[in-house]
């Protein structure tokens, strides 16, 4: 359909404008970032307004009078925009923080501390040498990295050696995390190009390449930017 083709071309043009940042910071990049931030913020506001209605107003009108506190809290949130009364926003924010902290602390002990420590403390005398060595490495790694984050003592002597071992384990962890982060971002890039290399979007890619080539030639010849890439003030 024609409307689908036009929408696809506009979408690809915006994507290519984002990629133009790799060549030069220009007005096109800022134009598209303003558009997508505006769209995301607007949709977020709309969904949140719907949620205030369905999760706050509707239950209150149906007889759950607890929700009056929630609606008062929502109203206090908007005092952010009333000069002299901005401090009232601290009351609902404090409620949010209190509930969040309580939920995190209560269950976090079991989920993040006890369960993890229990699984770390495995036997180092198992039937196979490989398993024993692996378990020993896990125990050594967890203990040394935990000690690495203990900043209240000077890292001298034995503490310094443990610190060094912890740093080595941390470098292995961070190296693998970097590799995974690259994997993730590459997936997003591939996803964008999957659309750009098919009809009719490859015309946008070819046009963008031509514009960049033209600009590069202009810069070489006249030592100035072409009209496409001048950043406006």
């Amino acid at each position: 359909m024609v409307s689908e083709i036009i929408l696809s071309l506009i979408s690809s043009a915006f994507v290519v404008m984002i990629f133009s940042f790799l060549y030069k910071d220009s007005i096109w990049f800022h134009f598209v970032t303003h558009i997508y931030i505006a769209g995301a913020a607007a949709y977020g506001v709309a969904i949140c307004l719907k949620n205030i209605y369905y999760q706050g107003v509707v239950p209150f009108t149906q007889g759950s009078y607890w929700y009056l506190l929630a609606l008062i809290g929502c109203a206090l949130m908007f005092t952010r925009f009333v000069r002299g009364y901005e401090w009232l926003i601290r009351l609902p924010s404090a409620a949010l923080i209190g509930v969040g902290i309580g939920l995190n602390m209560a269950a976090g002990v079991q989920a993040q501390i006890i369960a993890q420590i229990t699984d770390t403390m495995k036997s180092i005398t198992t039937s196979t040498i490989a398993t024993s060595v692996n378990n020993l490495i896990i125990i050594a790694g967890v203990c040394s990295v935990t000690m690495f984050f203990f900043f209240s003592r000077e890292t001298k002597g034995a503490m310094g050696s443990i610190n060094r071992v912890g740093r080595c384990f941390l470098m292995v962890t961070l190296g693998s995390s970097f590799a995974y982060a690259l994997l993730g971002r590459t997936s997003l890039l591939i996803e964008r190009f999957k659309v750009l290399v098919v009809y009719p979007d490859y015309y946008i890619l070819i046009l963008a390449a031509a514009v960049i080539l033209y600009d590069a030639l202009i810069r070489r010849k006249r030592n100035s930017l072409s009209p496409f890439f001048e950043v406006s003030s």
Binding site: L22, A40, Y43, G44, I47, C48, N51, Y54, Q55, V58, P59, S64, V99, G100, L103, N104, A107, G108, Q110, A111, Q112, A115, Q116, T118, D119, T173, S176, S177, Y180, A181, L182, L183, G184, T186, S187, L188, L189, I190, E191, R192, F193, K194, V197
Partner: protein, 273 residues
């Protein structure tokens, strides 16, 4: 010459060429399946007939490229079984939109399923961990309408979902480590609910420790995990197509690291000489 090579734009052009070529002309490189992917598959397979599964797309539009294929693959796998699926998003306002897109792509009718009886999309529920905790106690007091603004009293599936105890498996496809953590803290610790899912590549190393301790029943890592899952479930989709490009991209990154170190060694020797 070395000054020109230090300009990373040459590397960017090479990287982009290596990504674009396999998309235009697929190579078909071999791919294995990791243990964690098999664990996710086993967790889904172990769900008994008639069970209720909670499928939570805990990601937003910006992570679509990494996780949408994973959502589609898990949805297809679940629809092939005789289970009922409840979905809700907690991470971003666009997560139910992504679930809707996945549902329309897969097509419930292709599996003999019907919206409202076998699948329901409850939309976005703000509040994060507090909402997940409250949902575990009493669903109907929190959720009033679904994503399409239909009252849940008119949705037959919702008669079977009142609290966390009705859910046999939670599949959380997450964009950040907060979401698997929240499900583990609020549902796995309190109700012993089985939790599995997948996440963006960046947080996968953190999830490995939860898989090792048994708190997560396997975990899929980003598009690679999605491709492996598609291979395992014999449902080829979007993720497998991108694996060739992913391969070559990684090779370019490794070559960049090797060149960086070679030039460092050479410049050190020249410095000494």
């Amino acid at each position: 010459m070395t000054e020109k090579l230090r300009d990373p734009r040459w590397l960017w052009i090479l990287f982009l060429i290596c990504i674009i070529i396999p998309l235009v002309r697929p190579i078909g490189l071999p791919m294995g399946v990791s243990g964690n992917t098999v664990k996710v598959y086993e967790a889904i397979k172990s769900v008994t007939s008639g069970s209720l599964v909670f499928l939570s797309p805990d990601y937003a539009l910006e992570n679509r490229g990494e996780l949408q294929a994973m959502l589609v693959a898990t949805l297809k796998c679940l629809l092939q079984k005789d289970v009922k699926i409840v979905s809700a998003g907690f991470y971003g306002t666009t997560s139910p939109m992504l679930m809707d897109e996945a549902m329309k792509k897969v097509g419930l009718e292709n599996y003999g399923k019907k919206y409202g009886e076998d699948f329901v999309n409850l939309g976005y529920l703000p509040g994060g961990e507090a909402t997940i905790a409250a949902l575990g106690v009493d669903v109907h007091s929190i959720v009033k309408v679904d994503f399409y603004n239909k009252p849940i009293s008119e949705i037959p599936l919702m008669d079977h979902f009142r609290s966390a105890e009705d859910i046999d498996l939670v599949i959380s496809i997450a964009a950040g480590n907060e979401y698997p953590d929240k499900w583990i803290r609020q549902w796995q610790v309190k109700y012993g609910t089985k939790i599995t899912g997948g996440a963006v590549a960046m947080i996968y190393p953190m999830m490995v420790s939860y898989v090792a301790s048994g708190q997560l029943k396997g975990y899929l890592d980003s598009s690679r995990g999605a491709a492996e899952f598609e291979l395992l479930t014999k449902n080829p989709g979007e993720a497998i197509i991108t694996m060739d490009a992913q391969s070559l991209g990684h090779i370019v990154a490794v070559v960049a690291i090797v060149i960086c170190n070679l030039s460092y060694v050479i410049s050190k020797k020249e410095g000494r000489a």
